[in-house]
Amino acid sequence: MMDNKGYIMSLSSFFLILPAFLLVMFLVDVSANEAHLQETTLNSHDVVGVATDLETNLPLIGREVLRNKSLEVVCSGIPLSNSRKDVKEEFQNRMNNYCSKYADKGMLVECIILDVDNSYDPFCVEVKSIINVEKGTLKHNVNLTQNISLTNGSFPIYDPLPFVKCRGHGGATIKGERIFYGSSLANYLQSRGIKNYGAYENATSPLSIKKCPYDPYIMHGNTNELINLKNCIDNGFYHESNDGACFLCRLEGKGICSHYGMEIFIIPAATVSSCLNNSSTAPSSVDHVIFNDTGNGTYSGHPILYFTDGNQYFNLYLDDSHRQKYGMPIF
C-alpha cells in the first residue's frame, strides 16, 4: 500500500523528470528545424537558378521580338504606332509563355517587362525588367537593365524604315543583302516636291544592321580613291549619328528623331557616263536626309565619285557636313 510518502516521491519524480521531457522535445524540434533548413536551402538554389535562367534568356528572346517586329514592318510597310509599347507588349507575351513552363515545377515565376527604350549605344535597345520567382514561402526578386544588341547575334535584324517610306510609291524589294528601290524612292521624293529626285531611280541601300569598323569615321576619306568609303558601301555598314533615327523610331517610320541614332548611305544607281559635274546636285545620300519629311529636312549634296570600272560611274551626293564627318573633300 502506498502511503503519503509515496505521493511525495511520485510528485517529486514527475517534476524532476519534466526537464528531461522538455529536453527531448527540444532536441526533436532542433533536428526537425535542421531538416527544414536544408530543404529551404535546396529550394533557394532552385529559385536563384530559375532567376538566372530567365536573366540569360531575356536578351535572346528580346532579340527575337525585335526581329519579328522589324520583319512585320518590312513585310507590311505599315509602321508601328508606338514601337516601345508594341515591343514591350510582345516581349511581355513571350515572357509570360516562357514563365508558364515553370508552373509544373511548383514555382510561380513572373517576368514583368517595365520598359523598352533606347540605350546609350544606338546599336542596342535597353530593356528594364523585374523577375519574381516564388517557391513555397521563398521569394526572389531581381531588377534588371539589359542591352539587346541589334548587330551581334546568330541572325541579322533588318532596317524597316525604307519599307515604310516607299509604301504607296511602288515599294522597296529585297535582293540578297540589299534593298532595291526601283522607282519607289524617286516617286517618294517627287511626291514631296524634292528637286532632282530622278537621281534616286534604281537606288539601293543595305538591309541588315551592321556596325561600321571604319571608326573614327574620318577614315572613310583616307585615300583619293575613297577605297574605305567604297568598302563601307559594299558591306552596307551603319554609322552612329546624332541626326539619324534610332531603331525604335525607324519601326515607327520616322526618318529622324531626337534620340542618338544611326545613318546609312542610300546609293544612287551607277551612271554610264561621267557626265555628272560638280555643280549638279541631288538630295544628300544619307537616309535621315532623304527620309526627313518634316519641313525642309531634305537638303542637297554635290556628287562625289567613289568608284568607276571605266564603264560605270558610282557617285554619292554628300553635303559639306557629311563630307566633313566622313573625311571627304568639302565642296
Binding site: K5, G6, I8, M9, S12, S13, L16, I17, P19, A20, L23, F26, L27, V30, E34, T52, E55, P59, D121, C124, Q146, N147, S149, P213, Y214, D215, P216, M219, N222, T223, I227, N228, K230, N231, D234, N235, F307
Partner: protein, 324 residues
C-alpha cells in the same frame, strides 16, 4: 517518518536523472551554439564567394580606379556592352584584388574579424594557380569554411580580334557565307578575293576587318593561329593588309602561332589608328576545313602559353577559405 529508505532511493534516482539531464542539456546547448556559429561563418563564406563570383563589384569598372577607397570588389567579367558574365571572372580584377586584398576584403566582403584566403586553380594543370591571397595560420581555428566554386576565367586576358569559323560553316551553317565584302573585290583576277564556298567546294577567300590602335600595338602581342594547329588544306594561306595599301603578299600557315606585331606595325605606318583586313585562302573543301584566329595576348606572354584554348575562358576552381 518522512525520510524513509524509499525516499532516499527516489532521491538517488532523481539525482542521477537530474545529472544526466544537465549533462545532456550542456551537450545540446554547446552543439546548438556550434551549429549557429558555424552556420553564420558558412553563410559569410558563401555570401563572400557569391559576391566575388557573381557580381562585377561597385563601381562595375573598379579595377580601373587608381583609388580603391569606397570600392566594393566583385570579379565578374563584363564585355564591351556592359553585359555581366556571371561565373566568368576577369583576370584584370583578380590581379587588382590580389594587390589590395586586405583593404578590399575586410569589412566589405567578409567581416573584419574573419580571415580568408583565395586561390584560383585552373583545371588545366599546365597553368599555374593564382594565389590571390594565401597565408597559413588557421591551424588553431576549430571552424574553417571552404567555398569551392567552378568558374570560368579568361586566364591570360586574351582578346579575339578575328575568328573565322570555317569548320562550323562547312558542316552546319545553312546559307550565309563567311566573311565581309573584301576591299580586294575591286581588283582583277586572283587578286579579286572571290569568296570561298564550302557548300560548293569552291576555293576562295574569307576576309574580315579589325581595328588596331597604337596603344594596342604597344600593349599586345598579335598572333595568327589555326585550329587544328596542323592543317591539311594544301593551298591554305593568309595575308594582312589595309584597303589604302592592298598587297598580294601571301604567307603559309605554320604549326606554331605566328607573331605579326612587326607586320601590323609596318602596315599601320605613321597612323595611330587603322582598320586592317585579314584574308584567309582555303580550298573550300569541308573535309580540310580549319578555323583561323587572330588573337591579342598581353605583351610578353610566354610563347608556350600562346594556345588556341586560352582564347576562351578556362574552367578554374575558385577556392575561398574563411575562418576566425
Amino acid at each position: 517518518m518522512v525520510f524513509s529508505i524509499d525516499l532516499m532511493l527516489a532521491l538517488i534516482i532523481i539525482t542521477v536523472i537530474l545529472g544526466v539531464s544537465a549533462d545532456a542539456m550542456d551537450i545540446a546547448s554547446s552543439k546548438i551554439e556550434d551549429y549557429s556559429y558555424g552556420n553564420s561563418l558558412e553563410r559569410i563564406a558563401q555570401a563572400g564567394a557569391d559576391m566575388l563570383v557573381k557580381t562585377p563589384g561597385n563601381p562595375e569598372n573598379w579595377e580601373k580606379f587608381p583609388d580603391i577607397n569606397g570600392v566594393t570588389p566583385g570579379l565578374s567579367d563584363m564585355d564591351l556592352n556592359k553585359k555581366i558574365h556571371s561565373n566568368v571572372i576577369s583576370m584584370v580584377k583578380v590581379k587588382r584584388l590580389a594587390a589590395n586584398y586586405d583593404t578590399l576584403m575586410g569589412g566589405k566582403v567578409i567581416p573584419s574579424h574573419c580571415k580568408s584566403t583565395l586561390v584560383i586553380y585552373p583545371v588545366d594543370q599546365s597553368l599555374k594557380p593564382i594565389n590571390v591571397k594565401n597565408i597559413g595560420g588557421n591551424d588553431s581555428s576549430t571552424e574553417v569554411f571552404v567555398e569551392n566554386r567552378t568558374v570560368l576565367c579568361n586566364y591570360l586576358n586574351t582578346t579575339e580580334m578575328v575568328f573565322i569559323n570555317a569548320r562550323d560553316q562547312a558542316w552546319l551553317s545553312p546559307q550565309k557565307q563567311l566573311g565581309d565584302e573584301c576591299p580586294h573585290s575591286l581588283l582583277n583576277g586572283n587578286q579579286a578575293h572571290k569568296k570561298a564556298d564550302y557548300k560548293k567546294r569552291e576555293a576562295g577567300w574569307v576576309c574580315y576587318p579589325f581595328g588596331v590602335t597604337e596603344d594596342m600595338l604597344n600593349s599586345t602581342d598579335f598572333y595568327i593561329m589555326t585550329d587544328p594547329t596542323s592543317i591539311e588544306d594544301p593551298v591554305a594561306m593568309w595575308m594582312i593588309d589595309r584597303p589604302e595599301n592592298r598587297t598580294d603578299n601571301t604567307k603559309f600557315f605554320q604549326k606554331n602561332p605566328i607573331l605579326i606585331n612587326g607586320m601590323v606595325e609596318g602596315i599601320m605606318g605613321t597612323n595611330s589608328t587603322a582598320v586592317l583586313w585579314m584574308h584567309v585562302y582555303s580550298s573550300g573543301n569541308p573535309d580540310n576545313a580549319f578555323n583561323t584566329h587572330l588573337a591579342a595576348f598581353p605583351k610578353g606572354t610566354p610563347f608556350e602559353d600562346v594556345k588556341v584554348q586560352y582564347l576562351t575562358p578556362q574552367p578554374c576552381y575558385f577556392v575561398f577559405k574563411v575562418w576566425v
